[in-house]
Symmetry: C2
Subunit: 210 residues, 2 copies
C-alpha cells in the first residue's frame, strides 16, 4: 500500500501477480485494489491465463470480484473452447484482456520464437494475429527484444504493446518505447529499489521519446 | 472437505485449480490440503504456470507452503530463464512437475496442434520432447484426443500421462486408458454429480482395462 502511494505519480497502472494473489486471497487483494483505485491507478491481473473456457470464466469472475480492470492471458490455449467466451464476457463487463505474445527472458525464443509451417510465421506473429483477431485490448512483448517489438508494432499498429523486462532483466525503457512499446511494465527495478519513488520517476523520464 | 471424504476411496490424488485458490488464499487452501493428506491423497496445483524464473519460483514456493505435492506447468515459456530453475528447485524438495502437452478442448488444435518447421513436428510433440528432456514427472494429454495420447505414449513410454476431459467434455475413461493414459483427471463429472461417491466409483470401474 505504501509503495503504491509513493510511486503513483509516475505510474498509470498497477499489475499484481499470482504469488501475491495466491498468498492473500480475494479479501486482502480487494483491499489493495480499493487503495489503487483511490490513487486513480488501473489494475491488471497478471495470471497468464491459459485454461479451458469454464475455468477461464471462473478465474476471471474471481479477479473481477477482487476489483481488477484487466487480466493477462497466454494465447497458447487458443480461442474455441478457451479464450473466446472469456474475452466476450470480459468486454460485456467493460473489462480488458491483454494477450502475451513474446516474453522477456532468454527461453522465450524456444516456443514464442518457433518457426511454423503455415504462413511461414513465427509463433509470436501468430499470437499477435490472434490478439488482433480476438479483439484483445493489448499485447505483451518483452522489452529485451526491441526488434520483435518493432515488427509487432509494424504488423498491428492499432494494438497497444505492453513491454516487461525493463531494468533488472536488461531491457531499456527508451529502447522499448522507441521500437513501439506503448506501456512499460516494471517490477523489481521499482519494488526492490532503495527509493522506489525516485526509481519510478527516473524510468518514467527516461522513457520519454521527444 | 465433505466431497473429499466421500470420494477418496475412488481417487489417488486431488487437483485444485486457480479459481478456488485465488478465492481462498494460502491459509484456507492449507486446511483443505491437510484434510486431503489425512485421506492419503496426493495433491496437485493446476496453475498451468508459464512465467519467468523469478515469478515461477515465487508461485511454487507459495504452493509448497500451501502443502501441494506437485504442480502443473505450461511449457510455452520454455526452459532457459523459466522452467529450468523451477523444476530443479521442485525436485530438490521432492515435489513433482507435470507439463501440459495437449489440452482437452476443441481450441487445443490451434497452438498445441500447430505444425512446426523444425523436425516437422507438431507443437504437442515438441512439448512432450521438452517434458522428457526437462525431466518432468508427467505430461497432461486430453482424453478427448485418444490418437494423440497413443502417439505421445509411443514416443515417450516412460512419461506418465495425466488425462483430463473425461465425462462432461466428452472423453471416455476406458478410451483414454486404452490409448495409454496412466491417470484420469475428472472434475465436473464428479463434483457436479448428485452422488459424487457413486460417480467417482463408476469412472474408476469403467477405466479398468482387463
Amino acid at each position: 500500500m505504501r509503495l503504491l502511494s509513493q510511486t503513483c505519480e509516475s505510474l498509470c497502472a498497477v499489475k499484481l501477480g499470482l504469488p501475491l494473489m495466491l498468498t492473500l486471497g480475494l479479501k486482502e487483494v480487494s483491499q489493495i485494489l480499493t487503495h489503487s483505485k483511490d490513487l486513480s491507478l488501473i489494475s491488471i491481473a497478471d495470471v497468464k491465463l491459459n485454461d479451458i473456457e469454464n475455468t477461464n470464466l471462473a478465474v476471471a469472475d474471481t479477479l473481477w470480484r477482487m476489483g481488477f480492470d484487466a487480466l493477462i492471458i497466454s494465447p497458447v490455449s487458443g480461442h474455441d473452447g478457451s479464450h473466446k467466451a472469456l474475452i466476450e464476457a470480459a468486454h460485456s463487463r467493460g473489462k480488458g484482456i491483454i494477450s502475451l505474445c513474446y516474453m522477456s527472458h532468454p527461453g522465450a525464443k524456444e516456443v514464442y520464437g518457433a518457426a511454423l509451417e503455415n504462413r511461414h510465421e513465427r509463433m509470436y506473429e501468430k499470437f499477435m494475429r490472434y490478439a488482433a483477431m480476438w479483439e484483445c485490448d493489448g499485447a505483451v512483448v518483452g522489452a529485451t527484444s526491441v526488434d520483435i517489438i518493432r515488427r509487432c508494432k509494424r504488423l498491428y499498429p492499432n494494438l497497444d504493446i505492453y513491454s516487461p523486462g525493463v531494468g533488472v532483466q536488461g531491457g531499456s525503457a527508451k529502447g522499448a518505447v522507441t521500437a513501439g512499446a506503448d506501456y512499460l511494465i516494471v517490477g523489481r527495478s521499482i519494488v526492490a529499489a532503495s527509493d522506489p519513488r525516485e526509481a519510478s520517476e527516473q524510468i518514467r523520464r527516461s522513457s520519454w521519446v521527444g
